[in-house]
């Protein structure tokens, strides 16, 4: 049973994320936590953009924000996001692979807290961030889903994730939501 989905992306992520959010039904109850690499000074534009294509409410993460069903959570600019079972925690520790927020930091801590009830999703992107984290999710018994590098706007990030661990599914962008429904909410298909 998947209780949390963690998503990582960088270059090209905005298009991929808006596509996925627009396809998710309003009844999709598994919460999603998203790291999208972005400039440290970017304000709240991204959360507004994502909200405009989502039926589910989109929140920018604040320290100790509870994780609730049916919500999309976005990492704030210039903070790492960590998962502590029923809530998020933040840090301003050094960048990891030149990134803060870091996908690895989110994935590692979520794997630690959620173990086998976690699903990690890597989308288009231009760095190796997320590869280590997806490996940690697999090691903790969770599921790994990766956007097909051949159809990704930038293949580097999904290719690095596939090389790092034995992922469960590699699918093109348009098949991601059907796969999430199959894995998290078979009754909604």
């Amino acid at each position: 049973m998947v209780e949390l989905i963690v998503v990582g992306t960088s270059l090209g992520g905005l298009n991929a994320l808006t596509h996925i959010l627009s396809q998710l039904p309003a009844t999709f109850s598994t919460p999603l936590a998203v790291v999208q690499h972005r400039h440290r000074d970017s304000e709240h534009l991204l959360v507004n953009l994502l909200q405009s294509s989502s039926r589910l409410p989109v929140f920018e993460i604040e320290d100790k924000l509870p994780i609730q069903p049916g919500a999309i959570y976005l990492a704030p600019a210039d903070y790492h996001v960590l998962v502590e079972r029923d809530h998020f925690a933040l840090s301003v520790d050094a960048q990891v692979l030149h990134a803060r927020p870091s996908i690895d930091v989110l994935f590692d801590s979520a794997a630690d807290s959620y173990g086998p009830s976690l699903l990690g999703l890597i989308l288009t992107g231009a760095s190796h961030d997320g590869a280590h984290g997806l490996k940690a999710i697999k090691a903790a018994g969770g599921l790994a889903l990766v956007q097909d590098p051949a159809t990704a706007e930038c293949a580097i990030m999904p290719a690095a994730a596939i090389a790092a661990t034995r992922v469960d599914y590699v699918v093109q962008l348009t098949d991601i939501v059907p796969k999430l429904l199959e894995l998290c909410h078979p009754q909604l298909r």
């Binding site: 604040e62 960590l82 840090s91 301003v92």
Partner: protein, 290 residues
């Protein structure tokens, strides 16, 4: 008796623990040991970021487990000192979140002008970048000479770096941009002298600053302040310790005093939410009203 001999010798064999559960035990034992032997209490730090830092320390010490680190730390004070640094040093920048300083100028400075004497507590100041930022801002507003800034941190090593007023020259380009976006009115380079790879800040800027050691997890309030700044420090604490520090800050603020916290921190999940008024929508500057 016979049955017992045939069964498992120890209870855990009935249900082997996961690696995760074992690690949590190891972590509790390490923090308990450090608290009892050295008096530093990390038991109420936020576990996820604490674990991440502890694992980084384990790798640096070339060890393999939290238990191994515990053994090393309890027998070697030098190892404890290294661990203390890696667990408590928070990296920051001058004029971090420039918008915060711009709104401070706009909304807080006019209030401060009405006071004959201004006391500011900067809690968890780390290496001092944000303390110097505030000193510069107050200097430009003509308020600095009637201010006293108490800048505190748990860690004596970062405080001595803060006292030196020497920062990496390579960061000045970023800090200059932040300074301008924060509403700086001069040329940022007026405030420092470049020497080799370092920027030495004008000693005038620290005339009204007192740097001293203070542990938010164990120490109490030490004065009444007009402004308390504690930015991106509470994120490293769990809710229980956050509540303690919020109490401490509330008690340390005079009526209508101002509290400044980090951009992604919130009063929302604390018992003090009702005691403050937001000074500017979305900005983490609050005025004590009760």
């Amino acid at each position: 008796m016979l049955q017992q001999a045939a069964g498992p010798a120890v209870a855990w064999m009935l249900r082997p623990m996961t690696q995760h559960e074992r690690e949590d035990i190891e972590l509790d034992l390490l923090l308990e040991g450090i608290s009892r032997y050295y008096g530093y209490d990390f038991r109420h730090y936020a576990p996820a970021s604490l674990k991440r830092r502890i694992w980084a320390a384990i790798r640096t010490e070339q060890l393999a487990s939290i238990s191994a680190l515990q053994e090393q730390v309890l027998h070697d004070p030098a190892c404890m000192e290294r661990l203390l640094l890696s667990l408590t040093v928070n990296v920051t920048t001058m004029f971090r979140d420039p918008e915060f300083y711009r709104i401070f100028r706009e909304k807080v400075v006019p209030r401060l002008r009405t006071y004959p004497f201004i006391r500011i507590w900067h809690a968890g100041c780390s290496t001092g970048e944000e303390v110097y930022s505030m000193a510069i801002l107050l200097h430009e507003e003509g308020l600095y000479d009637r201010c006293r800034i108490y800048a505190t941190d748990i860690n004596e090593r970062v405080l001595s770096k803060a006292r030196s007023g020497i920062f990496d020259l390579s960061t000045m380009q970023e800090y200059t941009q932040n300074y301008l976006r924060a509403g700086g009115t001069r040329s940022f380079s007026e405030y420092y002298t470049a020497a080799y790879d370092h920027a030495l800040f004008n000693p005038r800027l620290k005339e009204q600053i007192t740097f001293s050691q203070h542990n938010l997890a164990t120490d109490g309030s030490f004065n009444e302040f007009n402004v308390v700044l504690c930015r991106n420090v509470l994120i490293y604490f769990n809710k229980q310790l956050q509540e303690r520090v919020h109490n401490l800050m509330y008690e340390s603020l005079g009526m209508f005093g101002v509290l400044g916290i980090g951009r992604a921190e919130s009063m929302r999940f604390t018992s003090h939410e009702q005691h403050y008024k937001e000074l500017h929508p979305g900005e983490r500057l609050y005025q004590r009203v009760v």
